[in-house]
């Protein structure tokens, strides 16, 4: 039976080669000075206004995006659960399907609706909104919510379908009204789902550069754009790596905060 452990070895080596060492490479570049020595310069560069601004905007937008996704997805998952669909695969189907339409095109398609003459544009003009939609923070936020909403819905729905109906009936039997059932029973029981949903939305929206590229009208730059440019056009890899490292710290911090409330590890392999 112990020979079985050996089967875990190949992938362990793979992970060291393709996960651990690459991450160490980011550290290597991020802390490397001009002459090859150690420096904190690239890390501290995050404090420069041209970097700090985009970082704060990214943080703000990703937090709002996460909250909006949660607010949309939670009632949605509740409704889906109550609908008691015989085949839960149908729900998953609906939310997975858009992924088969290319991510970039899906986002780009919004331009058709948001740009001058598009349905949403015309509608908002009628409501009295003046000015463009494309190139605003609102447009980017919309793009983020649109792209990452499924990542909030699916884990939430998954967690909710696992709840036994009798658990809820027990709460009702003990005098809880629907509101109390929602907040005192369903909510705590779906917390692991909330945590993984929040992670899966927050992380990509914090680091995206594609959504802002497509819907930002070349006016708005997020921290993702800054880093991408350091690697592609500006060719300052050390700076790019340094900023990536800072971004990673933010991701780790947010996960540590979430993990404080729940153990993600259990959820992941469960």
């Amino acid at each position: 039976m112990n020979k079985r452990k050996l089967l875990s070895l190949p992938y362990l080596i793979w992970m060291i080669g393709f996960t651990v060492i690459p991450l160490l490479m980011i550290l290597w570049y991020g802390f490397q000075g001009k002459n090859g020595g150690f420096t904190l310069e690239h890390i501290l560069a995050i404090g420069r206004p041209e970097h700090l601004g985009p970082l704060l905007v990214s943080l703000l937008l990703s937090v709002i995006c996460t909250v909006v996704c949660l607010l949309i997805a939670y009632p949605l998952a509740l409704i889906l659960r109550k609908a008691g669909l015989k085949r839960s695969s149908f729900v998953i189907f609906i939310f997975i399907l858009p992924m088969w339409m290319n991510f970039l095109l899906r986002t780009y398609a919004w331009l058709n609706l948001l740009d001058d003459g598009g349905l949403v544009y015309v509608f908002l003009q009628k409501l009295g909104y003046k000015g463009n939609i494309v190139g605003t923070y609102g447009a980017i936020l919309l793009g983020m919510v649109y792209n990452y909403l499924p990542f909030m819905v699916l884990p939430l729905y998954n967690a909710m379908t696992k709840i036994d109906d009798n658990t809820l009936n027990a709460a009702r039997d003990l005098g809880a009204n629907e509101r109390q059932v929602n907040f005192r029973v369903i909510m705590p029981l779906t917390f692991p789902g909330i945590v993984s949903g929040v992670t899966m939305v927050f992380v990509p929206s914090l680091t995206t550069f594609v959504v802002s590229d497509l819907l930002g009208g070349r006016k708005i730059f997020l921290i993702g754009n800054i880093i991408e440019q350091e690697f592609s056009t500006a060719s300052n890899w050390n700076l790019g790596a340094g900023l990536s490292f800072v971004l990673m710290i933010f991701i780790l911090l947010s996960m540590a905060v979430l993990n404080h409330y729940d153990t993600l590890g259990e959820e992941d392999d469960g």
Partner: protein
């Protein structure tokens, strides 16, 4: 009162559905537009025709599909093997292993892509098809493990022993008993990996070399000049075939047992 609530619920579902599919529908509609722009100039199939004549698009499609297929297949094999090993691990070793496995799932694609790029440069490999494939395998294995591991744990440990007891050698027991039992997890893991690979842009963007494109990177390179409507046509075809594929697998009796799982 209850009816009203039910209606409100349905209306809400419809609203989200419209939000999810509105851009996709416009995209499909525009793929049949005679003109290039946003203005409707009449129904036409010219973009579909153009699609089949563009060698560039043909290459991108074949790259995308073969990378998705290969990376999902290889990731499935690696994932299943490591799940078997993981099952024998206990305590701290197990936790460390799972934590490492979770990094690509939890980390940002931007950082994952960049880190892989830097590592490939350090090793000195030429950027191209193989680097993209390796990167895709890396981020796909966790999805396979995520789907297979619960199956393996749910499985009655004794069925494997029962096979040995009835005279099957370990290899026979593996293929005749264990594999069929974890098959639903393997299939959903494979499909998920395939989908993730198909839809990936960021990691491909950083690990591809010049002269090679997937559908995503081709579209990205066209953003500045305006994306050609033939891309809309391509996506429409892929979208429709995805629907057909998913409907078929869901209708077939064995497929209906396949449960797709998420984090």
């Amino acid at each position: 009162m209850k009816k009203l609530k039910h209606m409100l619920g349905n209306a809400y579902l419809a609203l989200v559905f419209v939000f999810l599919y509105a851009p996709i529908v416009t995209l499909i509609v525009y793929s049949f537009n005679e003109g290039r722009g946003r203005k409707w100039q009449g129904f036409s199939g010219r973009w579909y025709e153009e699609l089949f004549h563009s060698a560039q698009i043909g290459d991108a499609v074949s790259n995308t599909l073969t990378i998705a297929l290969l990376s999902a297949l290889i990731a499935t094999v690696i994932g299943v093997i490591s799940c078997l090993g993981l099952q024998a691990l206990r305590g701290k070793a197990r936790n460390v292993y799972l934590a490492l496995n979770n990094i690509p799932l939890l980390n940002s694609d931007l950082v994952t892509g960049l880190s892989l790029m830097l590592a490939f440069i350090a090793v000195g490999v030429t950027f191209g098809y193989s680097t993209v494939l390796l990167a895709h395998i890396s981020f796909n294995v966790p999805y396979v493990i995520m789907n297979v591991m619960p199956r393996l744990r749910q499985m009655n440990q004794s069925t494997y022993e029962a096979a040995l007891d009835l005279g099957a050698r370990p290899v026979q027991a593996f293929f005749k008993v264990l594999v069929p039992e974890i098959m639903p997890g393997v299939i959903s893991g494979f499909l998920m990996a395939f989908t993730m690979s198909l839809d990936d842009f960021i990691i491909t963007h950083f690990t591809k070399g010049p002269g090679i494109n997937t559908i995503s990177t081709l579209i990205y390179s066209e953003i500045r000049r305006g994306i050609k409507p033939s891309m809309n046509a391509l996506s429409t075809i892929m979208f429709i075939s995805a629907i057909i594929l998913l409907v078929l697998t869901n209708i077939s009796p064995k497929g209906s047992k396949t449960e797709v799982k998420y984090i």
